[in-house]
């Protein structure tokens, strides 16, 4: 349990999806114009990550990895299907996003109204796919750790996008060089935020 907690905190601050790996940058830059919508996107990303990553963890360990199919029959223990992982992971993510969209639409129309437009975007958000690929690399020992990592990464993304949106709302009133206006200054802002987050990198929990 302690281990799960340390993975959670680490993935929020030290291995932040945005500031350490630049995953999910496209939607991060596109949707961070105001705090309200960025809250919506952050929530949606956290949710989809927390659902898809454990599923992909199970797929990886019981279907794809070398020897993972041993539970089916002894002859299949020598199979290594890991070259299929890209296609399977993205299929799971696309299917789950579609499913989540339909469920949310049915159960909570008000949440759907605020999240709806972002849900299809999430299928192609690098942070989700990146989470699954990092999970494959890091070899978590059980599904609890994988879930902790998923939730932590989601919260990290959420924190980053809301922070940037708050800064950009204020920055709308400042006088920036014409050539840097918009995209350029946003990049520099993100860089400064990333530098601030670098100070967490020595954190030991």
């Amino acid at each position: 349990m302690e281990n799960v907690f340390s993975i959670l905190v680490k993935s929020i601050f030290v291995d932040n999806m945005i500031f350490a790996f630049f995953l999910g940058m496209c939607s991060y830059l596109a949707v961070s114009k105001n705090v309200k919508t960025s809250m919506g996107l952050g929530l949606a990303v956290t949710f989809v990550l927390a659902v898809t990553l454990p599923i992909n963890y199970l797929l990886e360990n019981y279907v794809l990895k070398e020897g993972a199919l041993a539970w089916l029959s002894p002859e299949m223990a020598s199979l290594d299907l890991s070259y299929l992982s890209f296609i399977l992971f993205i299929a799971v993510i696309a299917a789950i996003t579609q499913l989540v969209e339909m469920v949310v639409e049915k159960v909570s129309p008000s949440l759907y109204a605020s999240l709806g437009i972002f849900l299809p975007l999430i299928a192609v958000n690098c942070a989700i796919m990146g989470g699954s690929l990092f999970m494959q690399q890091r070899q978590f020992v059980n599904i609890g750790e994988a879930t902790g990592y998923a939730v932590g990464s989601g919260i990290g993304f959420w924190l980053a996008i809301v922070g940037l949106a708050a800064i950009r709302e204020k920055m709308a009133y400042s006088d920036v060089f014409p050539a840097l206006r918009g995209l350029g200054i946003t990049f520099i802002t993100v860089a400064l935020m990333a530098m601030a987050f670098m100070s967490f990198s020595g954190l030991k929990i």
Binding site: M25, L29, I90, C126, G130, P178, A179, L183
Partner: protein, 210 residues
């Protein structure tokens, strides 16, 4: 053959290199652009991989465009791209193992690279295969040159080398020159891309935001 490079096709090819650059103007595919640019070699491999995948996935989607049902088009596009990325990733593992280790998850992340989805949606779904291929290659190269420029400065200033070969002479270090360690850290990639955008928009004034 005279039709092969008509004016429109030329425009489709040259646009993404400057006026309609995927990174500096369309803001697509930033994630990998920032993450793989600490050294020049992986940046070039990444740029080429994206160019090839983009070219071929554009052709495939363009051939299929009239048969794909509209509701599930995103999944179809993702599967086509994922298949191509798997091929490229296996080829890299076989012939350039060191680089593929350096690129780690970012090769897999080409699947969710926004440039791919953006071009497939915006161009390949409505144009013929040849133009789509040219559009794919053009956008891939537009993406690659930004990567190469960023990686050039980061490796030169951060490690004093290019392609792993020392460029800054030892006498500089003896005289007190120090590599800028911050350059190899993630945040500097953002700053360098911001500077590229700055220069690009100072030249092309019509791109400036109000």
């Amino acid at each position: 053959m005279s039709k092969l490079f008509s004016d429109k096709t030329k425009q489709v090819f040259l646009g993404p290199l400057s006026k309609n650059n995927p990174i500096a103007v369309q803001v697509l595919g930033i994630c990998s652009a920032l993450a793989v640019t600490a050294k020049l070699e992986p940046a070039i491999v990444m740029g080429l991989s994206v160019t090839i995948i983009l070219g071929f996935s554009n052709v495939i989607i363009s051939l299929l465009r009239n048969t794909i049902p509209n509701r599930i088009r995103i999944i179809v596009q993702l599967v086509v791209v994922a298949a191509l990325v798997t091929v490229v990733s296996e080829v890299l593992k076989a012939f350039a193992y060191d680089v593929s280790v350096q690129l780690s998850v970012y090769i897999g992340l080409i699947i969710t690279n926004c440039i791919l989805m953006g071009r497939l949606e915006a161009f390949a779904m409505g144009n013929r295969p040849w133009e789509s291929f040219v559009d794919g290659i053009g956008n891939g190269l537009g993406y690659a040159w930004i990567l190469v420029v960023t990686a050039f400065f980061r490796e030169l200033l951060g490690a004093g080398s290019l392609f792993g070969v020392k460029i800054i002479p030892q006498s500089f270090y003896d005289a007190g020159y120090v590599n800028n360690g911050l350059m190899v850290m993630p945040p500097m990639a953002l700053i360098i891309v911001a500077v590229i955008i700055w220069v690009h928009r100072s030249i092309n004034k019509e791109l400036q935001e109000k």
